[in-house]
Symmetry: C2
Subunit: 280 residues, 2 copies
């Protein structure tokens, strides 16, 4: 098993990075790792000569009303999981070094950040693209691994990498699910028992729409209505949005053809969950 | 003398870049090269193991009312000058490949782009930082060379590199001047004979303010008034702005102390010229 080296500053990263065998695979995370993260790390270890993982709960992608302070943390456990997975370098930058006084440069994708999560969380994706650009520039990976769970995030980062000519391959890994279909998320820990049980309704609604599609339904509105019906039947669930959109541009569809992203956001109590499914 | 290799596409660049000895020095230009550019190229050749020059008249840093179409071009001559200077790689990307359909990701520095040139040319620096980030990502240089002539551009790019953790050293080279003090610029070719003669008034005003500073003047307003008096005495000149600002932040000063940037923009007929001087 590799030795896991742990670093904090950009200068430590620069020195450690210089001696890593290439290609370098990079998995940026906000910590509190679950099976979903570990599937990314595993894939990175398989596909790269060395693997860097960052843990950084990025303040600029949270709104003032968001759950930044409440975001769950367990560094001891994360460290152990990454050691077992065979990661070479764990980078835990500080907010102070990431955003020093005078910081003022932002990376922003336009159209693709406007719908879905972007519509509900203004400024969120500007924070994401900015911090990911910073992490990429500092780590200089050849490959970076993201979870398909955050489908719009993957689409936005792919767009950024293409538009800004970053020499990095973006690899998206499938959603890892609990037995009842709930997509793994650090936020699942916020759910009480009843909410946890009700939370499988997100995936059920996606499967129902997929099933309708497989039976020949091509009206995007009909697929959205299938999902909506299932969510509204669950008394603990409160629907935020349902989308049936083009996979690359995230534009809402009228008629389904080509690669399609079904996605939704649902509140269970005060916890906001998202899920998605790709077909076509 | 080196062989000058000339390329157009990102793919050609990727292949050529892979075999360049490091450190790689990079000089991004808009072409129509003059002594100012060549001083940057010369410095790049002295300080780097290989040198890449780009020629790209970047549409996103021109406003619709700007002089994009009229911007002077002479590729034959540029090519010959770069060959003589010992440049390794000349990259002439196309606007179509730089900004393909669907392009939508921008890099933007905030506060530092607001005064001076940024105030007169809204959107200009967003175009500059975006294209420079793209060029940097594609060329992957260790050093990049800019002219101090565009003082705010240098400050903005330094800010971007620091904020986004780009592993690139920014080298700013002194302004190269004609015999009468006029700063070299591709736009000088727009001047008629009378305007050309009057154009030395920009540097004269900077020297007069510097002289007042050396005699002990520390009021920024007084230094601005010295400059303003000299510009308004020239009938062909029309003042746009005069600034006495902190060198790093570009904030206007009340009392001069520390590193200071005197700068101004002046119209001679329809041609807009800028100049600056650093002291302290």
């Amino acid at each position: 098993m590799n030795e896991l080296q742990e670093i904090v500053t950009f200068e430590e990263l620069r020195i450690a990075r210089a001696s890593l065998p290439e290609p370098v695979g990079f998995v940026p995370t906000m910590g509190f790792l679950h099976e979903g993260h570990l599937s990314l790390v595993k894939r990175a270890c398989e596909q790269s000569a060395s693997v860097v993982v960052s843990i950084f709960v990025n303040p600029t992608q949270f709104a003032p009303t968001d759950d930044l302070d409440a975001y769950p943390r367990d560094l001891e456990r994360d460290r152990e999981l990454l050691r077992e997975a065979g990661v070479d370098l764990l980078w835990i930058p500080t907010p102070e070094e990431m955003y020093p006084p005078g910081f003022q440069t932002w990376v922003e994708a336009e159209k693709i950040t406007k719908p879905l999560e972007g519509a509900k969380r203004p400024g969120h994706f500007r924070g994401v693209t900015t911090v990911v650009a910073k992490l990429f520039n500092a780590v200089q990976p050849q490959m970076a691994f993201f979870g398909q769970k955050d489908a719009q995030q993957v689409a936005v980062i792919r767009r950024m990498v293409r538009d800004l000519n970053m020499p990095i391959e973006i690899v998206a890994s499938p959603i890892i699910r609990e037995r009842d279909g709930l997509a793994m998320s650090s936020r699942n820990t916020y759910l009480n028992e009843a909410e946890r049980q009700a939370a499988s309704v997100l995936y059920k609604s996606l499967l129902a729409a997929q099933s309708a599609y497989k039976k020949g339904e091509r009206s995007a509105d009909s697929l959205r209505r299938v999902m909506e019906g299932i969510i509204t039947d669950e008394p603990l669930a409160r629907l935020e949005y349902i989308s049936c959109a083009d996979y690359d541009s995230l534009e809402e569809l009228t008629v389904v053809s080509g690669k399609t992203l079904l996605s939704l956001a649902v509140y269970l109590g005060r916890t906001r969950l998202i899920d998605n499914l790709v077909f076509g």
